[in-house]
Structure formats: C-alpha cells, structure tokens
C-alpha cells in the first residue's frame, strides 16, 4: 500500500510552499490513476494539473472526513469523467499505453509480453466505472468504501463494478 494512502491530513495546506510539498507527495499516484483512466500521458498530465489546482482552490471544502488522497482521487475522477464525457468516448486513447514501460522478465518473456499486451488492450476498453473501480482497487489498494466515496455510489455498487471488470479481464485473457 502506498505510504501516502495512510496519511490523513486534517486539511489541505494553505501556504503555497506547503501545497507544493503536498503536490509532490501525491502527484505520482494521481498521475498514474489518470493515466490508467485516460490512457494518454499528455491528457493525464493536464488533468493532474487541473486536479491539484481545483484542490487548492477548494481546499476549504476538505473537512478531513476521508484521507486527503481519497479526496484528491474524487476530484481526479470527476475531471476524468468530465473529459471522457466531453470526448464522448468510452475507450480512452490507448495508443499511448504502448509506450508505458514494462518490467523486464527474461524468462518466458515472449509469453509474458503477449499476456501483458492482452490485458493492456482490454483494460482501457472497460466501461468507465468498472475501469475506475478496478484501477483504484488493484493499483491503489483502496478499500471499497473509499472507492464508493470516489465513485459516488454504494459500497456494493463499487464491488459490483470491480467484480465486473475482473470478470471481463479474465474472460478476455482466456478467449483471445
């Protein structure tokens, strides 16, 4: 579990200097989440900027009811949602995913690469809510009540979104 996930800030820093430090603490997780949601590095970077600017502007609204990271992911999720809605596409710009680096695995590299590309191909094509629940659970190791808070739904709906995503990924792996 990422270190910053356990940190529950009581408030978002007011001073610009402290806020820069806050950005540094969370930037990679927010960026990775948006990258996985949009599939496009440039778009993810733009949305990461927008997320932190919005967090600073609305810092007074954060009451510490959840971890600051959960609140940030909530903003990031809305930013991604708005953009995807605007672009009117369910599947992100997955061509950018090809450039994402992979861990080296000399043994059985070919088979592993094939498997990885299969998964990569499918993950960005999952419906937005399912993809989001899966990314937050799998990559961010978030609890389902935090995922539900981010998605603005019930815990059972968040679990369903996650389970559906997993089912589709598994089927894709078996059938292709």
């Amino acid at each position: 579990m990422p270190d910053s996930q356990n940190r529950t800030e009581a408030k978002i820093p007011n001073s610009r200097e402290e806020f820069s430090e806050f950005v540094r603490q969370h930037q990679n997780r927010v960026f990775a989440f948006l990258m996985r949601m949009t599939g496009n590095r440039e778009t993810a970077l733009d949305l990461t900027q927008d997320t932190f600017v919005a967090a600073y502007e609305h810092r007074a609204a954060f009451r510490g009811e959840s971890a600051a990271s959960t609140w940030l992911f909530q903003i990031a999720s809305n930013k991604a949602k708005n953009l995807l809605k605007k672009l009117q596409r369910e599947t992100p710009l997955d061509d950018q995913l090809e450039s994402a680096p992979t861990a080296s695995d000399p043994e059985g590299e070919l088979q592993q690469k094939e498997l990885v590309s299969k998964v990569r191909e499918k993950l960005p094509r999952l419906p937005e809510k399912q993809r989001e629940a899966f990314v937050l659970r799998f990559y961010e190791q978030m609890k389902f009540n935090d995922i539900a808070r981010i998605q603005g739904c019930s815990v059972s709906a968040a679990k369903t979104n996650y389970a559906e995503a997993l089912k589709k990924l598994r089927r894709h792996l078996l059938t292709t």
């Binding site: 579990m1 610009r16 820069s20 950005v23 930037q27 990679n28 960026f31 990775a32 990258m35 996985r36 970077l45 990461t48 900027q49 932190f52 600017v53 600073y56 502007e57 994402a100 680096p101 992979t102 861990a103 695995d105 592993q112 498997l115 990885v116 299969k118 998964v119 990569r120 993950l123 659970r137 799998f138 990559y139 961010e140 190791q141 679990k159 996650y162 389970a163 997993l166 089912k167 990924l169 598994r170 792996l173 078996l174």
Partner: protein, 184 residues
C-alpha cells in the same frame, strides 16, 4: 463449501500485491480442480497487470506540472483579487445611493415619535395652579406639564422657560404644537 463462494473470495482477495487466500479456503482449493484453475487464471492476470511498470512522472513532466499549477493558481488568485476589487469599486456607487434612499424612506414612512424623553412632575403648588385654572385634567404628567406651561406663559412668558427646566427647545415646541388648552 460452494465453488462460487470460493471464487468470489478469490476475486476480492486480489490486489496489486497479489492474491491472499484465507486459510479456510486452502483445503478446498487443494481438492477442487475448477477453483484451483480459477485461482491460477487470476494470478496470471494479476502478474500481467503488475508487470505494467509503475507509472511515474518524468523529471521534465514534474517540472512542467509544478510550473503549470503555480501559473494557474497565480492566475486564479489574480482573478479573484480583481473580482474583489471590482466589488470594492462598486460599493460607493451602490452603497451611497442605497443609504440615501433608505434614509429618505425612513423619513417619509416612519411616524415621528415624541422627542420628549423625560417629563418632570409638577410640584404641588404648580399642580394646584393648574387645577385652579382648568380643573382636574387627569394624571398624565406630560399633559399636566403642558397645561402648566401654557398657564405660565399667559401669566408671564419668562416664567414658562423656568417651568420646563431641563426640557430642550425641541421638546417645548413639540408640547406646544401637540397640546393646547382647548383640548382640556
């Protein structure tokens, strides 16, 4: 133990850190081919997903991110300041006519109250003088005072000022305008 239940637990046990199977399911997995195959598939999937190396910002992207955040916050704060200043500039234009209008409305519509704040009771001698000239005019101290003032003025205008000792000119005017001897 049902296979569906076990597979469901496998699904929810999966995170980026692997699949942690609870102890009570292990014996079932050892004997059930379908469930152990299912676990294998999920582990394979997890390995494929995990092999997508960690996504991080490059140093150039990080620099750009911080510059852009600073620029956008500066712009937003400048805009906010400008909006506030715009309001401040509007205050004299709005507030002065508003206060003038409110004052006018208050002057027109709110009935004027008596400016008399304090009425000193007449002495027994003064009251006797009033009763002698006008008969019983009641217990109202203000009326008694006004009546006495009027009588005093008729006797000697200079005495009248002494009678309403402590009353302002405005109070005396009000008494004179609002009370007359004829009304008693």
């Amino acid at each position: 133990m049902k296979c569906k239940e076990v597979q469901n637990r496998i699904d929810f046990a999966l995170t980026g850190q692997g699949v942690e199977i609870p102890e009570e399911f292990r014996s079932h997995l050892e004997t059930c081919g379908a469930c152990s195959a299912y676990l294998e598939q999920i582990e394979e999937l997890a390995a494929a997903l995990e092999s997508q190396a960690e996504i991080t910002l490059s140093p150039e992207e990080e620099l750009l991110l911080h510059q852009e955040i600073d620029r956008q916050i500066d712009a937003s704060e400048a805009e906010h300041q400008e909006r506030t200043l715009r309001w401040v500039r509007w205050i004299p234009r709005i507030a002065i006519p508003a206060v003038a209008a409110a004052a006018l409305i208050l002057t027109i519509f709110i009935p004027q109250k008596s400016p008399v704040t304090e009425v000193l009771n007449l002495t027994d001698d003064e009251l006797a003088l009033v009763y002698y000239n006008l008969g019983d005019i009641g217990d109202d101290a203000l009326v008694q005072k006004a009546a006495f003032t009027q009588i005093a003025q008729e006797i000697d205008p200079l005495d009248a000022e002494d009678v309403l000792e402590g009353a302002s000119d405005e109070e005396i005017r009000w008494l004179m305008n609002n009370l007359s001897m004829e009304s008693y």
